[in-house]
Symmetry: C2
Subunit: 773 residues, 2 copies
């Protein structure tokens, strides 16, 4: 059992570790040759140039200004200095809202910590239960003296815990509501002040029904001309350019190798670089590497050109989906929020994600397939969460000495060497699990992709919520009740609804020390490691050495990275869960949580300002999820407290806790009804206001030109040297504005009007007339 | 333990009872003096007149055509003859869809019954388990020989039950999906073919924010002129006429009494009728009844006029809600499906219910209050369901001999009489429970009203779903596991998730006989009682004798009644539940269910054609609820079968059942996504089509005139003699078309435009221009 002294030692070690990381960071970041690793954001924004245009050669790489070494922690106040509006301007609303998660952590837990230490710690400490038990040889740690365990059964002192549970719940809900409101307002402000963006005018239409007479493009145009006659502007069909994108990616890879070999050759002119064509360059024919790659690139370029041609011309490459743009934001808001056709699985409309945010591969999945995919992934995730230990145990059994000897007898002599044997025995099983946990976010991301979400932001949100559940089951419950998740599930199925919170509740105080250590290792040292950015640092210098020829290459060698919502947010939520669960049980844990939130806030603020480059901007669309998960943590904490109390035979006070989860659940529904629409819908009033303002400011705006090529697949944009293709594609679309119908049944309409494809030839005019009062 | 013979006797008795009801009905319905009781629908439609205009005096009241007595069952084929489209025309889609619930009962259970008798009955019967047990003195009935109880533990025969469970599930889902599709199509057809109705053009706006400068009417007009410039037509503010409605109702009551006394006087001219003014006419001053009521009516008429005046003129009587009408169905569809303002709790728009369907009292409840009301009612319903026995037990204790003697000692001598004593002891406790159950639907209806639903149809739907839950907990579970719902809850909380289905599952086969009897009493005889319509029959003849003077009075004396969705539908659902649960367990029960569905179908078809007069038409909006509840029954049946199986130690086969509930839940979400929007939203394509057609047919339609007074509170319409008020009210609205703003801040705009109240003076024109390409 850990004493307070033990924890102090552990804290000291972790603090030291964090401190070493910080020192290393402070030293590395002021070296000019690391500048692009630690300040990529500014390079990407074009606000910073490579240093050393002037000055001595040494100063180009090493910072020799010793004064800057003294102020090695000055990045911290600098990170805090930038005001929030500027931060939003600088890094986007997503990042600013993300930082607010840490802030609400502080807002929730500072008062809770103060209150818990002022009330609960004295109440817990002034008992003799554990001291008496210790006399009778029951072991317990000093920490438990401060926890609820120190209170004897049936004590009236439990009332203070109940009152505190109410206070903590109300405070948490108050902060959450306040922040929900703030973030919603920030989102409005952001949307209102945002510059004109294509997604404000555009709606993504999916599941366009097949039509034997008309192409998708014609069909979309006719449908919207008929049903949104006053608002429809233009559209952009979605093409299946996945193959093309693959080729472009291959070409890029070959180009990198070519650069590498050319650089090698230029440095050592004596020998022409040689390579083998087989697998990983280990087997196969020896060829001149430069010639080989030049030829490969040539071949790929041709293939790309052919594929590009076929994508543009082949009707089979057109997917039954389109980005439809409207003349006004109002029209787009109407298009996005209404149902278009009788069959609710056809002509599905939804706000178009930002062009950067579109996940192109999923745009053409039909409705039924989506439903089936969701079922499959739901079941798979269940098995992943509860049975993931089974394949790992299998791998571990293979990775044991006997397993290897069986699978590969020829390795036997090597393995039998003592050192290697101990390594295999000691490490391999752990590595199998560790590898799985490292790949888990990617697995979850693949699952989300399979489920058919159409924007990167929604993919990340889905992965985040699954990662949270996985953590909750396997890390939180798994640490409290030892045993695999499946064994837990089995236990829970055999226990009554009353007993489950009891079983967990009883184990909660015992595990306090474990979680304190966890917070220090994962939360303190882990965050300090984050700021050091070891992986990008190494990668940058490797690339810099082997590939970089021009300034543009150096630009590309930077790996700014991004926040990684899908792993980052569930990690924060885990601290909310720990904090709320232990607030009433072991208040000693709270200061450790506080340190985490404060430190992480500063670190991530620094990273967001100087490093990360968000791939997309969703306008804080993730906030409802954040809100929901904190409330889930709150409800879990209430249930566990109830379970714990009922084992303490505090029977007459426990029922007073029942109201808490009921109220919390109600609070959840209330706030979702109140604020969630701000993150999903776009009110007409708002749209109308922006339209009017814009029209007053720029009456002659050519919106069609602006929107024409906004939603073209990125491969058509990515290659700068192929600009002509891009515009060719746009031009082809342009020619189709007067879509001649091929529908047979309409051919014999006497006088075909301009909009001859609709269900009624003269419809748009008719409606216009009809609408004149 | 009941034998098959016992059940036969019981069935014979119940069939006899049903038969007697049917004979009575057959005799009563062909008597001309009952014509208005048994054929009110035709009178209300104006297709039938009072009989006996010609003919002998006797034939006016009694049917003397003896041939008609012979064919006393001929109403049955007559009820089935009317084709469905005609039925929809005649009685509305709601009624036709309601009948379809019985039809899907038949569609689901006929094949299931055949299959279960062909496969499961032989499989069950050819075992000796119960026969062997009976030798060792374990009692069991003949019925159990046909049920799953007859199969020994660990038998391989359970596989047949599992296969059947799959077959039943797939068949049920297939029928449900098919019917969902059918009803959705019927709804489309109905909406598409429906004549012009005000609700197609109208949106109900609630939570109009208060404004110090403008009245609600002005605010609404400005808001929609600005934000729906091309579509807004007119609007109608909601007035608080609850007090006025109360007065009108009082006046009507007094009028009835006046009629009664006048009739009495005209029959017996000798004595002027005298009445007492006090409570129930038992106390107080004696006055001339006719004079008194004439004076009362006079007084009320004046009060009504004053109140009417104040409602029209007093700004405080205007509620922050309005019915906003649009120029086109398209405009209304847009208005109803989009969010209007930034704050999602203001300017809430929703499709306006049909004018008849509006529940006027609830139109002005603010959003926050709605959320709180929902919480309160949720908690109340929980207590009502699980603790309703507590107040009843209290009343029962009061209603006992000792209780009465304590509360009212002066009654002691009367109570001590033996006969009365036994009546009190035997009946009163039962009556307390029975009274509660009779009033339960009304209690649930009041709860729904308190929750703030705005249409009668939604009130009924909500009550229905609560009634279903109450039945499920207290009748179904309460019959299977004896004990009050609260005791059950307590048991379940203390049992594991695995054990709950086991506990119930084990009791299921034992209770088969009980439920068979229940079906016969409630389902067979109860339905036959429904067709007799005893209460309306008696009420009609009473009214006819005491009040009716004119043909119009006779019209009003008819009480056609309506389907009563809030009690009727949960009752049907109970039979679905029984059928699905017992299909695999005791197939003997299935034929009884079949008889119920067939008989009820014929009876209600007759009632709908000849009797019921639906108060509103919601276009089968209740179907998603019906669908959902059948699926809930299906899932319950699957879980109980799993529980039952696991007690039979069929451990290796039980896991195969786990997939069933998962698939069923997935099926639920799939079908809801696929078909539910048809019942909630109105696609733009559809709206546009109807608009275009209508415009082509009636280019000069005065829509504004048509919609002007569509949503006026019924009290302004109800009194025929007060027509002038009605139009006066409409006229007052009419004058306001050019709403002059009183908003101070706008006063100093240099050149006030026509629409001076909007956030931008020239907005509508600007947008119009902007939308020209």
């Amino acid at each position: 059992m850990a004493t307070i002294a033990d924890i102090g030692v552990s804290a000291a070690i972790n603090l030291l570790g964090a401190f070493i990381f910080l020192i290393a960071f402070a030293l590395l970041r002021i070296q000019p040759f690391n500048d692009r690793v630690y300040f990529p954001k500014w390079y990407l924004k074009g606000l910073r140039d490579s240093p050393s245009q002037a000055g001595a050669f040494v100063r180009k790489f090493v910072n020799v200004d010793f004064r800057s070494y003294v102020k090695f922690l000055n990045w911290m106040p600098a990170a805090l200095k930038m005001p929030e509006p500027e931060l939003i301007e600088h890094a986007g609303l997503d990042s600013a809202a993300y930082l607010r998660i840490y802030l609400i952590g502080l807002k929730i837990f500072i008062p809770i910590t103060v209150l818990a230490w002022a009330v609960l710690v004295p109440v817990n400490y002034t008992n003799d239960t554990l001291r008496l038990e210790r006399l009778s040889n029951v072991t317990s740690s000093d920490i438990d003296m401060l926890s609820i365990s120190n209170i004897p059964a049936k004590s009236q002192r439990f009332w203070s815990h109940i009152v505190m549970a109410y206070a903590f719940t109300f405070w948490t809900c108050y902060v959450l509501r306040k922040e929900y409101e703030n973030v919603a307002n920030m989102r409005w402000q952001f949307l209102a002040s945002a510059k004109r963006r294509p997604d404000q005018f555009t709606v993504l239409v999916r599941n366009v029904p097949p039509d034997p007479d008309e192409s998708v493009s014609e069909l979309v145009e006719h449908f919207f001309l008929v049903n949104h006659p006053d608002n429809y502007l233009t559209h952009q069909v979605v093409v299946n350019a996945n193959q093309l994108a693959k080729l472009v990616k291959q070409k890029k890879k070959q180009q990198n190798w070519l650069d590498y070999y050319q650089l090698k050759y230029s440095r050592n002119n004596a020998t022409k670089p040689i390579m083998k064509t087989g697998f990983l360059g280990l087997w196969g024919q020896k060829v001149d590497a430069i010639d080989y790659h030049v030829a490969e690139i040539e071949r790929l370029s041709k293939e790309i050109a052919a594929e590009r041609e076929s994508v543009v011309t082949d009707p089979k490459a057109i997917m039954p989906a389109a980005f439809v743009s409207f003349k006004t934001r109002w029209g787009a808001a109407v298009g996005a929020q209404t149902q278009q056709s009788r069959n609710p699985t056809l002509w599905l409309t939804d706000w178009a994600p930002e062009p950067r945010d579109v996940y192109w591969n999923n745009l053409a999945i039909p409705y039924v397939s989506l439903a089936v995919r969701r079922l499959i992934m739901g079941v798979s995730f269940f098995f992943l969460t509860f049975f993931f230990m089974i394949p790992i145990a299998f791998v571990q059994s293979l990775a044991s000495i006997e397993g290897i000897e069986k699978a590969a007898p020829f390795l036997k002599p090597i393995i039998e060497i003592k050192l290697i044997k101990s390594i295999v025995q000691g490490f391999l099983p752990g590595i199998a699990l560790k590898l799985f946990l490292i790949f888990l976010p990617s697995i979850l991301m693949i699952m989300s992709k399979f489920e058919g979400f159409i924007s990167i932001s929604s993919l990340e949100r889905r992965s985040a919520s699954r990662y949270y559940i996985f953590n909750l089951v396997n890390v939180f419950l798994g640490s409290i009740i030892t045993g695999s998740a499946f064994e837990q599930l089995d236990t829970f199925m055999k226990q009554s609804a009353n007993d489950i919170p009891k079983t967990i509740g009883v184990a909660i105080p015992i595990k306090a020390t474990f979680f304190i250590t966890y917070i220090m290792v994962d939360g303190w040292a882990g965050i300090a490691g984050e700021i050091l950015m070891l992986k990008p640092l190494i990668m940058y210098h490797l690339k810099n050495f082997f590939l970089v020829k021009t300034e543009k290459d150096r630009e590309e060698a930077m790996d700014a990275g991004s926040l990684g919502f899908n792993t980052g947010e569930p990690r924060i939520q885990f601290y909310f869960l720990l904090g709320l669960v232990y607030a009433t049980v072991t208040p000693l844990l709270l200061p450790f949580i506080l340190v985490f939130f404060a430190f992480a806030y500063v670190v991530f603020r620094h990273q967001i300002i100087n490093v990360y480059n968000q791939e997309y901007e969703s306008g804080a669309a993730f906030w409802p999820d954040v809100h929901k998960r904190v409330l889930i943590a709150l409800i879990i904490s209430q249930l566990l407290l109830m379970g714990l109390m009922s084992t303490k035979e505090a029977a007459q006070s426990t029922p007073f806790l029942i109201a808490l989860p009921v109220l919390t659940i109600w609070f959840y529904y209330f706030t979702q009804g109140r604020y969630e629409p701000a993150f999903i819908r776009y009110p007409l009033q708002e749209a109308m206001m922006k339209d009017t303002l814009e029209h007053a400011r720029e009456p002659n705006l050519n919106l069609k030109g602006y929107l024409q090529s906004a939603y073209i697949h990125p491969v058509f944009k990515s290659e700068d040297d192929d600009d002509d293709h891009d515009t060719a594609f746009a031009k082809k679309e342009d020619e189709d504005v007067l879509v001649p119908t091929k529908r047979q049944s309409r051919r014999n309409t006497p006088a075909p009007s301009k909009f001859s494809g609709g269900s009624s030839p003269s419809l748009p005019e008719a409606v216009q007339e009809h609408q004149e009062p």
